[in-house]
């Protein structure tokens, strides 16, 4: 195996980051340049949004349910088991809903975009597209970014809601709590900051999922093996970036939204 010097490795990484930033900038700036491919955006919204609905619903439900179960164990020790609704609600809306939904969508779509675009690269379809007078960035990348950002926002809302239903199922069936009280606590505890934080995250994460998937796909090299590598890298990079950005965004919003 060939050894790479640390400085060369660092240069490569910095170059990759620079390329990614330029790639993202170009994709976003295409939103303001004609032609705009609305049909492709709708098709991608269907593939990414509607296609991801089953896994998002299942993830949300089981996360809410297990959260209620785990919380009940701790809250029972303090005689506060009725606060399960509050805990599920704030955890789902502020953190678990956006993050887990994004991770599931990243697993499904970031890798999907990388493999689809990567296959098009190695079979010269992207070159053919350019040769036929179409900008692949406008036709393939920008619609995927718009569709992912838009649909992840709504998928997160669905995931939050289904998570609360999952928590309710546990609260009602296993913990014998009153359903009305659960909903009242869950609803009343939410404040503007919670909802804002929970809905700004999917916008950022959606952008990461789509740009990372498309970036690795459009830079795939080396035949089918290269496509496989791009697919794996896209999923790993998107997942890690989502978690890292989650920490940064949470800290930033907690500071700016005056959380106590």
């Amino acid at each position: 195996m060939e050894l790479i010097s640390p400085s060369d490795l660092a240069k490569t990484k910095v170059q990759t980051v620079q390329d990614y930033v330029l790639f993202s900038w170009q994709a976003v700036s295409n939103l303001f340049l004609k032609p705009i491919y609305f049909i492709d955006m709708l098709l991608q919204a269907d593939t990414i949004g509607v296609g991801s609905l089953p896994i998002v619903v299942l993830t949300g439900f089981f996360t809410g349910a297990v959260l209620a179960l785990q919380a009940s164990n701790t809250l029972e020790r303090f005689g506060s088991i009725t606060l399960v609704g509050q805990l599920v609600s704030t955890s789902m809306v502020r953190e678990l809903g956006p993050v887990l939904t994004s991770l599931m969508v990243a697993g499904r779509n970031s890798s999907g975009m990388a493999s689809e675009l990567g296959s098009m690269i190695v079979t010269e379809q992207i070159d053919a597209m350019r040769a036929l007078g179409t900008d692949p960035m406008k036709k393939l990348v920008t619609p995927r970014i718009v569709a992912t950002v838009f649909m992840l926002f709504f998928l997160t809302i669905i995931s939050d809601l289904v998570g609360l239903v999952g928590g309710l199922a546990i609260a009602k069936l296993l913990l014998q709590l009153d359903a009305r009280q659960y909903w009242y606590n869950a609803w009343e505890t939410l404040v503007f900051q919670d909802v804002f934080m929970g809905l700004i995250k999917p916008v950022i994460f959606g952008f990461i999922i789509a740009t990372i998937g498309c970036f690795y796909g459009m830079n795939a090299r080396g035949g089918t093996q290269g496509v496989g590598r791009a697919t794996t890298q896209a999923m790993v990079a998107a997942s890690v970036l989502i978690l890292a950005m989650d920490l940064i965004v949470t800290r930033f919003l907690m500071a700016t939204l005056a959380y106590h």
Partner: protein
């Protein structure tokens, strides 16, 4: 696609020597890392002529087509295509120029998620937005040209290798380009299918008088093109009449070690004294 009704003897013609060349390469160099693939390549393609490009694998033949199309940029040198310097043009301007050029990729590069109809109509759909009757007529006409009208609603995965190449040719010629670029159009095909593809290329050359660059590994394909012409009445390729001089607009270019070793017609190639060329064509 308009089809002239000239008789057999007049089908072939000398390239338009007076008009500016369709393609000019001036001292073009390109390297990937330490690997210098092209080292000062210069040649020109007169309008109406087809030039076959030869060379061993990795000699940079396909790169010449991608450079001419502006899909990649050279490290140095100048490339003028249809009067425009592609080395100085922005990607946006290149999209306009590419509207006048058709390209057939080595592995066809058909969009696998689109049907044959959508693949062939792609360029027109991008220009007009909707699939109307005019586009449908032109798609059918282009597919009739390659004798594949019955495959309209099939997908590329349902076609054989030869059929995919023919669909790629239909896609390339649908808007009657001024210049055609063929990247190994017969590579990996059986002799009969190869002959069908060569016949289509000769048809395009002789009937529509389109300038073309053709990368190929198969010397016999280029020799067939140099010794045959398209008979519109019989709708097939026929050998040039014996004893009758009928100059076919066809030339040969041989690349070696990143440079042009030979650029000339078949007669010059056949009589070359260069040892490498003699070995190559033997």
């Amino acid at each position: 696609m308009s089809v002239p009704t000239s008789p057999l003897d007049c089908v072939t013609a000398q390239p338009e020597r007076d008009s500016p060349p369709a393609i000019t390469f001036e001292d073009v160099a390109l390297a990937f890392g330490d690997n210098e693939v092209l080292r000062g390549v210069s040649f020109h393609l007169p309008r109406g002529e087809t030039k076959a490009i030869f060379g061993v694998a990795g000699s940079g033949k396909s790169l010449l087509l991608k450079l001419a199309m502006g899909l990649i940029r050279p490290d140095s040198g100048r490339i003028v295509v249809l009067g425009e310097d592609v080395t100085q043009m922005s990607e946006h301007d290149l999209f306009k120029l590419r509207g006048k050029i058709g390209i057939v990729f080595q592995e066809s590069a058909l969009f696998d998620s689109l049907s044959v109809r959508e693949n062939v109509a792609y360029r027109l759909m991008e220009e007009h937005g909707v699939y109307d009757n005019d586009i449908d007529r032109r798609v059918r006409e282009a597919l009739r040209f390659v004798e594949l009208e019955h495959t309209l609603d099939l997908y590329p995965s349902e076609l054989s290798g030869g059929m995919r190449r023919r669909v790629a040719i239909a896609r390339a010629v649908i808007n009657e380009p001024e210049l055609l670029l063929y990247d190994s159009p017969t590579g990996g095909l059986d002799p009969i299918t190869s002959n069908t593809i060569i016949e289509l290329i000769v048809k395009q050359r002789d009937v529509n008088k389109t300038s073309a660059l053709m990368v190929t590994h198969r010397l016999q394909d280029a020799f067939t093109m140099a010794t045959h012409q398209f008979d519109q009445k019989a709708n097939r390729m026929v050998p040039l009449p014996k004893g009758k001089h009928c100059d076919v607009p066809m030339s040969f270019l041989l690349l070696r070690n990143g440079k042009v070793l030979f650029d000339g017609d078949m007669e010059q190639l056949a009589h070359s004294q260069d040892e490498y060329i003699r070995e190559y064509i033997s």
